[in-house]
Amino acid sequence: MNGMNNPLVKWIDHRLPIFTLMKAELTDYPTPRNLNYWWNYGSLAGITLMILIVTGIMLAMQYTAHVDYAFQSTERIMRDVNYGWLIRYIHMNGGSFFFIVVYIHIFRGLYYGSYKPPRELLWIMGVVILLLMMMTAFMGYVLPWGQMSFWGATVITNLFSAIPWVGDAIVTWLWGGFSVDNPTLNRFYSLHYLMPFIIVAVVVLHLWGLHRFGSNNPLGIDAKGPQDKIPFHPYYTIKDLYGLAIFLLVYAGFVFYAPNFFGEPDNYIPANPLSTPAHIVPEWYFLPYYAILRAIPDKLLGVIAMFASILVLFILPWLDRSPVRSGRFRSWMFKGTFWFFIFVCVVLGVVGANPPEGMWLVVGRLATAWYFLHFLVILPVLSVVERPKALPTSISEAVLGGGDTAAGAAAKPMEKA
């Protein structure tokens, strides 16, 4: 790269080796040559985070976090601020798209065993990022101070009263008062501005952990030598750019033509503490957890189940101990239960959007049971009983030598992941 011969670059790099770092980690960085498009979602998540931060900072210049002005200042942004409507809709839909991208990214990890050794900490940091995202999104939704902002905040903060003995004190502390009100709004604004930067820090750790062993790949087998890898630039920079353009196409489709698709009409009604909406619904990305919460009749156990549904992800590397990494070489039972698990998550989402009664309650309980069954029973059992397919010998052989069939590898000993 002739950039490195530039005298100014050399002068800076000698004192602060940032260019050497970028060259090693973004340009020369050896990446498996067989990554498919499911590997684009990590960079998409990072870019969406940047978009949210930039638009968020611009919104923060115009927004007022006070119960008397929050709704009004948001409308002022939509109507009077130059391109305010655009920045607001990009930010609002960016939240939804961040979760879409991250959920796909997570499911990629689940299928291809990206959480398996030696990437356990990488996976755990990812779950930490998910939790931080959920907190950030929850607080962000409160800021416009619409009916759903207020009542969603009330319902979710009230959950903490389920904690024995100290629950009520915790809720009062969270509220800064005796109900969701101005102190709550202001502290949520402060934290909503702060948390994305904490997310950035954990993302840096996440990428550092990633670069320790390099990316996983669709075959789930380690690189045997340099022939199995290619430099990140230009191959994956251009592939990520192309993926970004497609992503932006879908994103722009919503921003410009269906900007309120992911939202709730009730949030265009200013918050009224004396009038509860008929159905309190969180944003779509929280619906599965909401369903789990309401599936359990006991308040405290419901809260525990809801948090457990995320916490179970932390221990996944120890629940699924199959030595085979990639789902591609695992049994039809693994593949079948994987797709069924996705279906169950979607069902939980639909259940979460409906009142917890009648058929919805039954389905919600079944789906909740299956959700935990998948992680706590199915995956551990499968890792013991299943007989996976034979793995190919190497990535390059699979990619360049005519495909990843078992036939080619049958004569050779099965590789351990």
Partner: protein, 185 residues
């Protein structure tokens, strides 16, 4: 590189076609960056509600000769003075060269309406609001306005005469939209 750049125009070989493709991608990327940057920058410009308040109409009819009123325009005080003939004369009777900020009175009023003086009431030194609008307030040695912060004296045309202020009190953009009404902004 230079060779392919030259043949890029000819568009003949595969190599130059590749460069053309890269060039197109790069150019479109630059356009995209610019298109994204503009709304972000422009959102910091005055918004529509701020612009709506950026002009004010003032009805001059209740202001009597010798009376001064203050109105607000873009967050700043505006001094409107219905000058007496004596004040006008005092403003004209001056050696322009001797002024710290030479400007004739004629340049500071509208033709045919010399009695009306419209000024931005912010001292050009460090921004205090000069005294002289209300009866009883000091008007300084030239009977115009006096800034108590650091002792700047303005005359009956609002020009700086003495003191640390470097410039005359500014005249805001305004027009007479009728005999009795001005439009500031």
């Amino acid at each position: 590189m230079a060779e392919s750049a030259m043949t890029a125009q000819a568009g003949g070989t595969g190599e130059s076609r590749r460069d053309f493709l890269y060039l197109t991608a790069g150019a479109m990327g630059a356009v995209a960056v610019g298109a994204v940057a503009w709304p972000i920058i422009d959102s910091m410009n005055p918004s529509a509600d701020v612009l709506a308040l950026a002009s004010t109409e003032v009805d001059l009819s209740p202001i009597e000769e010798g009376q001064r009123i203050t109105v607000t325009w873009r967050g700043k005080p505006i001094f409107i003075d219905n000058r007496t003939p004596e004040q006008i004369e005092a403003a004209l009777d001056v050696d322009l060269e001797s002024l710290p900020d030479p400007q004739s009175d004629a340049e500071r009023i509208k033709e045919g309406r010399a009695n009306w003086l419209v000024l931005v009431g912010v001292c050009t030194h460090l921004g205090c609001v000069p005294l002289g609008q209300r009866t009883g307030e000091p008007r300084g040695e030239w009977a115009g306005w006096f800034c108590p912060c650091h002792g700047s004296h303005y005359d009956t045309s609002g020009r700086i005469r003495k003191g640390p202020a470097p410039a005359n009190l500014p005249v805001p953009p305004y027009e007479f939209i009728s005999d009795e009404t001005i439009f500031i902004g």
